[in-house]
């Protein structure tokens, strides 16, 4: 009887350490949620967007998945630092967001740092700059050609 009890106790201990066969769950609140939408007069959520979450300094993703029907995606960071969330809609349009996670594993509420008008202004300025350089190269080549003839 004593031996049987010992055997059951040992088996219980072994089984509790081999927990992989028994799946449990708990419902938790919290985590960090990122929302993505298309800007416009009436903003629309980016549904089913492809998401990759990178922990600070990591190149292999910590988590990947899809946004829900409201354009939301949640994850639970396991360390503080600058986390990177890359989301796109499969057509190459999307965002790369840096999320600063503090020691309590929370992040401040932030919005996109660049509004569309600022992106447009930046891009147009860079294009004009590049074509300005191309004009200079063309004139320089022309002058060089004239000097030879």
């Amino acid at each position: 009887m004593k031996n049987s009890l010992k055997l059951i106790l040992i088996l219980l201990l072994v089984c509790s350490s081999l927990s992989a066969h028994n799946v449990s769950y708990r419902v938790r609140n919290g985590g960090i949620t990122i929302e993505v939408w298309y800007e416009g007069i009436s903003p629309l959520p980016m549904k089913n967007g492809f998401v990759k979450v990178f922990a600070p300094g990591e190149v292999v993703e910590f988590q990947k998945g899809r946004t829900d029907q409201e354009g939301r995606f949640s994850f639970f960071p396991d360390r503080p630092g600058r986390w990177q969330v890359v989301i796109n809609d499969g057509n190459g349009h999307g965002i790369v967001a840096d999320v600063m996670v503090d020691e309590t594993l929370h992040a401040p509420i932030v919005r996109s740092p660049q509004p569309l008008w600022l992106k447009l202004l930046t891009g147009v300025s860079v294009i004009f700059g590049i074509f300005g350089v191309l004009v200079l190269i063309r004139d320089w080549k022309r002058r060089e050609k004239n000097a030879h003839t």
Partner: protein
């Protein structure tokens, strides 16, 4: 229509870079010869703006016009390729629109293909001026979507491990309708109307001046 990082295999990226770099080089040599580089810069900026304005479509995805055929009709397909290559590089490097590793594929699908297709179609229909502007824009955008769909849909066919796709997961049966239907119904007509409006306006202005 921009292909993001992680959707194409390294082999596809290397091949598409290998094809696009000589084309970009040739296109830049053409730009240097161009008298009106500044005007080309203006149309490139316009193309950048129309590409940055994403129009959401039902199903959660989005798309935009290109402006490739517009530049090709004005300055020829090589200069349009150079202009679009610059625009795509800025979008990939500064705004994360389209991947850096997928830049070669994006140059082929969003610069080379629409510029040349748009230009040739415009040449064919040139007799009917307004129609030629519209169809050039329409087909340049549709063929651009087709090229992107080809790059993406071959990924699961060529690069899978134990039946599990390593990169872009959807084959031709899903990718082609997903990319071509919006292009045929929404974005092709938008590109055509954009071409028609801008080219007609610029032509009218030129006629008034001369």
């Amino acid at each position: 229509m921009h292909i993001p990082d992680g959707f194409l295999s390294p082999q596809t990226c290397i091949v598409t870079y290998g094809i696009s770099i000589p084309l970009i080089y040739k296109s830049f040599r053409e730009v240097i010869k161009e008298e009106s580089v500044a005007r080309l810069g203006l149309l490139s900026a316009l193309s950048f703006v129309v590409m940055m304005i994403n129009i959401p479509i039902p199903g959660g995805s989005s798309g935009h016009a290109l402006g490739a055929s517009l530049i090709a009709i004005f300055f020829g397909p090589w200069r349009a390729t150079a202009a679009l290559s610059i625009v795509l590089a800025i979008q990939a490097l500064l705004f994360g629109d389209g991947g850096i590793t997928a830049y070669g594929a994006n140059v082929l699908s969003m610069a080379v293909v629409p510029a040349f297709v748009g230009y040739w179609i415009w040449k064919v229909f040139k007799k009917w001026e307004k129609l030629s502007y519209f169809v050039a824009g329409y087909f340049s955008l549709v063929t651009s979507a087709l090229a992107a769909a080809i790059f993406l849909s071959i990924q699961p066919l060529l690069f899978s491990s134990g039946g599990r796709p390593l990169y872009f997961p959807y084959g031709p049966a899903i990718t082609f309708p997903a990319m071509l239907v919006p292009a045929l119904i929404f974005f092709g007509p938008i590109e055509g109307i954009l071409n028609l409006a801008i080219l007609s306006f610029l032509k009218k202005r030129n006629e008034e001046r001369s």
